[in-house]
């Protein structure tokens, strides 16, 4: 059996797609609620606990990421592309951690209760201070736009590799399992080609 994987571990893939859905929902909730009057309360009451869930999951995910074996990058990716991919991965981890923390902090500074469910709520993590709230509130927006841009870059890169380069990069993160025998064949094919294959 090859020592190189074709796919991320099942746990990493589950975390990836679950959090992708949560984060994209969260970005939609965020822009919708600040523009909404009638649905504002409903959207906010989903936004807050969902943000807490993302914060918990991103910590779990980062630990899993550090402990799990990773599939290699496809040989079609240049050194620069690999650096960019890694940088965007860490940027996404950073933003997924920072956004809920800033949100928690800003609500604490404004003394808005962070209700999870029923009487269950988070403690305040910052002193009451309107100016601090105002700064964190702006930061929350800026970070959210950064997260959206990073997502777009990540998504565009995947589309480019899938539709133009056609190197099957999406299979590394596919929600289904790629049959191991073919994966092994693929791995050995990749291993024997030292230079990246750039699509013509």
């Amino acid at each position: 059996m090859s020592n190189q994987r074709t796919q991320f571990t099942v746990l990493m893939r589950v975390l990836h797609w679950t959090m992708a859905a949560m984060v994209l929902t969260m970005l939609g909730l965020g822009v919708a609620m600040v523009a909404s009057l009638g649905d504002y309360h409903l959207l906010v009451s989903i936004h807050r606990p969902l943000g807490v869930a993302i914060l918990v999951l991103v910590v779990v995910r980062f630990v899993v990421r550090r402990l799990s074996p990773l599939p290699p990058f496809p040989p079609t990716m240049s050194r620069l592309e690999r650096l960019a991919a890694e940088a965007s991965e860490y940027t996404l981890y950073g933003l997924m951690t920072a956004l809920p923390l800033v949100g928690w902090g800003m609500l604490s500074a404004a003394r808005y209760p962070i209700v999870l469910y029923g009487p269950l709520q988070l403690p305040f993590i910052l002193p009451q201070n309107p100016m601090l709230y105002a700064v964190l509130r702006k930061t929350h927006t800026v970070l959210a736009y950064l997260l959206f841009l990073t997502f777009l870059a990540h998504f565009s890169a995947i589309l480019f590799h899938t539709l133009i380069v056609r190197d099957g990069i999406l299979k590394r993160m596919a929600p289904w399992n790629i049959r191991p025998r073919e994966a092994a064949a693929t791995d050995s094919a990749a291993v024997h080609k030292p230079d990246p294959i750039i699509a013509q």
């Binding site: 100016m131 700064v135 094919a189």
Partner: protein
């Protein structure tokens, strides 16, 4: 589950023809545009004329000007503090900790309706009372009440329309005299609500005003039974009819004087139990007089304080900061109030406030 992949995964695929490549780039463009379009739609960028919290607060600023650091509505105010003694009568109605027998600290704020922080007090100006109850379980309950038995508008859109009808013309400095009658013509429910409001005699001051919670809410008790409610604060001081207006701060000065004289001002929190058929989504319609009212406890305010030092200044009296056991009704005003209060708070939080009309020296007078 596993699926079969046709052919090796990482060998170079056949070369794309120019046409094919362009078509694929175009597809990428369409997918990205669709993603951007969905978010633009959700964020309201495709419907620029729809009313948003931001445009709502812009409306307040157009009418009253921008006064940095002040609330965009109910800008003129005076902080207060004290406690709420729950008598336990509310336990059968709601499981909220605030209704268990005992004492809960309260921070409050008396205010005058409108966006002018130095508006002149007047008998018919809207009087507001915002309250925050802090029971020991860490939950918070905030309510923002006014001395009107019903609200003059039914929807956020109507509120905005009415607000703009009071916007002063830059040439004359006065609102267009045709605007308010035109608004009322379009909103017969507001005409009816104004009749109810005019039917309630105006008291002489804050200290003997009734304050109403306006919107309907839902109470859920420990058994899981949910009922529609409204609430009001009934003053212990006897009613006295409003007299001719005095000087600019006469209502607040009288409140300060009453506080020094009485040492504490008290109101009874009365929960009004709605019956099937009582509208919960229309704050312009009063519920029948004979509805059961439950006195659930006594609010005691024993201190007033200028906004310069009061803890109330930093509180957004968002009517949807509710403990478990109190939930919003289907009244469309509630979510909108929460959204607009939040927008107002966000704007003023980042600004440096100028001194409030009622100063610490005003509060010390007659101590």
């Amino acid at each position: 589950m596993s699926i079969t992949v046709n052919g090796p995964v990482r060998t170079a695929p056949p070369r794309l023809a120019i046409g094919g490549a362009l078509a694929r780039f175009a597809l990428i463009g369409v997918i990205l545009a669709a993603v951007l379009g969905i978010y633009a739609y959700l964020g309201g960028w495709l419907t620029p004329h729809e009313l948003t919290p931001s445009r709502f607060v812009d409306g307040f600023e157009q009418v009253a000007g921008v006064h940095p650091g002040f609330r965009r509505n109910h800008a003129k105010g005076l902080g207060a503090s004290g406690f709420f003694d729950s008598n336990g009568n509310g336990v059968r109605l709601s499981k909220a900790a605030v209704f268990r027998p005992g004492r809960v600290p309260v921070i409050g704020r008396f205010s005058l309706g409108g966006g002018q922080p130095d508006a002149a007090d007047a008998p018919n100006a809207v009087r507001g009372l915002g309250l925050q109850f802090s029971p020991a379980d860490g939950e918070l309950w905030r309510t923002a009440m006014i001395n009107r038995p019903v609200f003059p508008v039914r929807t956020p859109e109507a509120f905005y329309e009415q607000l703009l009808a009071s916007k002063p013309d830059p040439k004359t400095g006065k609102p267009d005299p045709a605007a308010m009658p035109a608004f009322l013509k379009r909103h017969p429910e507001s005409v009816a609500a104004n009749k109810v409001i005019e039917g309630e005699p105006v008291s002489s001051g804050f200290e003997n005003s009734r304050f109403y919670g306006l919107n309907a809410f839902r109470f859920t008790n420990a058994a899981g039974e949910t009922i529609p409610v409204r609430w009001l604060m009934r003053p212990e001081l006897p009613f006295e009819a409003a007299a001719a207006p005095g000087d600019k701060n006469y209502l607040f000065d009288a409140l300060i004087t009453a506080m020094h004289r009485e040492h504490a001002l008290r109101w009874h929190l009365r929960v009004i139990i709605g019956q099937p058929g009582d509208p919960t989504n229309d704050a312009t319609i009063p519920w029948p007089e004979e509805r059961e009212q439950v006195d659930v406890g006594t609010l005691t305010l024993d201190r007033v304080e200028s906004e310069e030092t009061s803890a109330a200044t930093d509180i957004n009296f968002d009517p949807l900061v509710l403990p478990d056991g109190i939930a919003p009704s289907d009244d469309p005003l509630l979510s909108a109030r929460s959204a607009v209060y939040s927008q107002s708070y966000t704007r003023r939080a980042g600004e440096t406030k100028t001194p409030s009309a009622i100063t610490p020296a005003d509060v010390r007078k007659g101590e």
